[in-house]
């Protein structure tokens, strides 16, 4: 599977990852080579095989929803931009 530069930029946008022009060129070549190697998997007939999401069988692990001690605000609040005890973000809406 060969990726072209537009696909690479599209994937970067899905991941909200800025890329320099040089990175976009380099990744187009490198990711294409990696995906070509991964075509090895096409040799494998997995039609009737169930997928494995996790190696050790565990389902619906729940614990009691009991309140414990909280961490102090001054050590938890490490945001680069804060206003008082709030985290400040850039404008979300125009």
């Amino acid at each position: 599977m060969k990726l072209d530069r537009d696909q690479v930029l599209h994937i970067a946008e899905l991941a909200k990852l800025g890329l320099s022009a040089e990175e976009a060129d380099r990744f187009t070549v490198q990711l294409s080579a990696i995906l070509e190697y991964f075509e090895l998997l096409d040799q494998l007939d997995t039609g009737a095989i169930p997928p494995t999401a996790m190696a050790i069988d565990q389902h619906n692990v729940l614990r009691k929803d009991s309140a414990g001690a909280s961490l102090p605000v001054e050590t938890v609040l490490q945001a680069p931009r804060t206003i008082g005890q709030f985290i400040a973000v850039k404008a979300v809406l125009d």
Binding site: L31, Y37, L41, L44, T52, A53, Q78, V89
Partner: protein, 484 residues
């Protein structure tokens, strides 16, 4: 013998018999770090004051009549594990300045057992790599040859143990990140079964594969460390609610009644001849200790590399979405609106390999490609796991090389990501199956250590520790130290 040269169990004898204090031991190791660190660059951060104050506390506890499994033992921690009050960067610029407000469960358990935390060791950024060359800060050096990599991603921990810059260390292993650096540095490194050790407070790379484990100067030290960190944790829903056996009791001197399987897929093409010879000689030693050696097959091994890189990158792309420059870590100051802030923070904060893996994973999960890549890989993972299940019906443990070659040169593989991925060819199928494995030294090629890998069934760390210990005690590879 200098105090920093001691293994954990040797140091415990000295501490218990009052030959020296934890403060004296910790000071000796801190001085060793100051002397050796310019050569190895194993540590991202040395927490000297906290370490000495923990050592004083350990000495007070001992003077008051207390004892504990690791009371007064100075250890190094891979910088992927959260440590309260000590910076945790995951080797990434994007977490520069982050100081965790709490300890990971494994750190809490180490502290309760009396351990002294020396500092945080270098890692490939977010544990993605096999050499520490992907660290956002610097590359660590192999103590056996400073021009070569220590392996990765737990390369700082492995180099620190090898160079006597700590008595033991914690690492994490997602595709071989404990076993491969242990192999390249000639020490013992254990990846426990998925679920054996809590991951609460351990920064996630690939959640269905990540596991915390131990690195030590010998097998007994790994057993001691595992004893402390293993066990169920209500804070980690993937940790297994299973009893933890006595790992010291498993360290028997012979291998009578043990059947070991040799999977032929891990030998031959791609494995350096001298490495294979070392493994074959180790098998002779194990046979002489009473083990029965049989040939087995893991037929889907050749698919494990694409399966691993599809699953791990997909999970990484989701896990690393949280680094947005808003709640902690580095941020971009120039952006005018939020989407631009995300793009720029992540562009500036992540290194090339992390970006490459986020891209691969995002692609594998994206609309139209999910079935062809991610789902296909999950199905192939089932076949790889079934291979192991079948093999463990015939034998109790498997013997393979840990890496295809000894340590490679710094810079040798940085421009060829696929060649770097091949470095993990012998280790990553074990993470897909969830089983446990250990690497121990079994020889040298041109002055560089060769690693022997012993793979065990799920939650059967007892058997791999037993096999590793019996072989280690019958040989002297673990006693060889680099001239630094």
């Amino acid at each position: 013998m200098e105090l920093y040269e001691l293994s954990i169990h040797e140091a415990l004898e000295g501490l218990r018999s009052r030959q020296f204090s934890s403060v004296k031991l910790t000071q000796a190791v801190l001085e060793r770090i100051a002397q050796i660190e310019p050569k190895t660059q194993a540590y991202l951060c040395v927490a000297q004051e906290q370490a000495l104050s923990s050592a004083e506390e350990a000495d007070r506890r001992r003077a008051a009549g207390a004892d504990a499994t690791l009371l007064g033992i100075p250890l190094a921690i891979k910088d992927i594990i959260c440590t309260e009050g000590i910076p945790t960067t995951c080797g990434s610029r994007i977490l520069q300045g982050f100081v965790p407000p709490y300890d990971a469960t494994v750190i809490r358990k180490l502290r309760q057992a009396g351990a002294v935390i020396l500092g945080k060791t270098n890692t490939d950024e977010f544990a993605m790599g096999s050499s520490t060359e992907n660290s956002g800060y610097f590359t660590s050096h192999n103590p056996w040859d400073l021009e070569r990599v220590p392996g990765g991603s737990s390369g700082g921990s492995a180099a620190a143990v090898c160079a006597n810059e700590c008595l033991g260390a914690l690492g994490s292993d997602t595709g071989g990140s404990i076993r491969q650096p242990a192999s390249l540095c000639g020490i013992a490194g254990l990846k426990p079964t998925y679920g054996r050790v809590s991951r609460y407070g351990v920064v996630a790379y690939a959640s269905s594969l990540d596991q915390v484990g131990t690195l030590g100067k010998d097998v007994r030290d790994n057993a001691l460390l595992l004893q402390v960190i293993a066990g169920h944790d209500p804070e980690d829903s993937t940790s297994a609610d299973k009893a933890v056996p006595d790992y010291q009791a498993s360290l028997l001197p012979d291998l009578k009644g043990i059947t070991l399987g040799v999977p032929h897929e891990f030998f031959g093409e791609g494995i350096q001849t001298e490495v294979e010879q070392s493994i074959r000689q180790a098998l002779d030693v194990m046979r002489s200790l009473g083990a029965c050696i049989i040939e087995v097959s893991l037929p889907h091994t050749r698919y494990s590399l694409p399966v691993y890189y599809l699953i791990s990158t997909a999970e990484a792309s989701a896990n690393l979405a949280r680094y947005d420059g808003i709640r902690y870590g580095a941020t971009d100051e120039q952006a005018r609106e939020i989407w631009e802030a995300y793009r720029r923070t992540r562009e500036e904060g992540f290194g090339a390999e992390v970006k490459r893996r986020i891209m691969l994973g995002t692609y594998a999960l994206s609309a139209g490609y999910y079935d062809a890549y991610y789902l296909k890989a999950q199905k192939a993972r089932t076949l790889i796991k079934q291979d192991y299940d079948r093999a463990f019906q015939e034998c109790q443990a498997l013997i393979t090389p840990t890496t295809p070659t000894p340590a490679f040169r710094i810079g040798e593989k940085v421009n060829d990501p696929l060649a770097m991925y091949m470095e993990d060819i012998c280790t990553l199928s074990l993470n897909l199956s969830g089983n446990c494995g250990i690497s121990i030294p079994c020889g040298f090629v041109n002055g560089l250590p060769v690693g022997l890998q012993i793979l065990g069934n799920a939650f059967d760390e007892v058997t791999i520790l037993h096999v590793a210990h019996a072989y280690e005690q019958a040989t002297a590879w673990h006693l060889q130290k680099p001239a630094l």
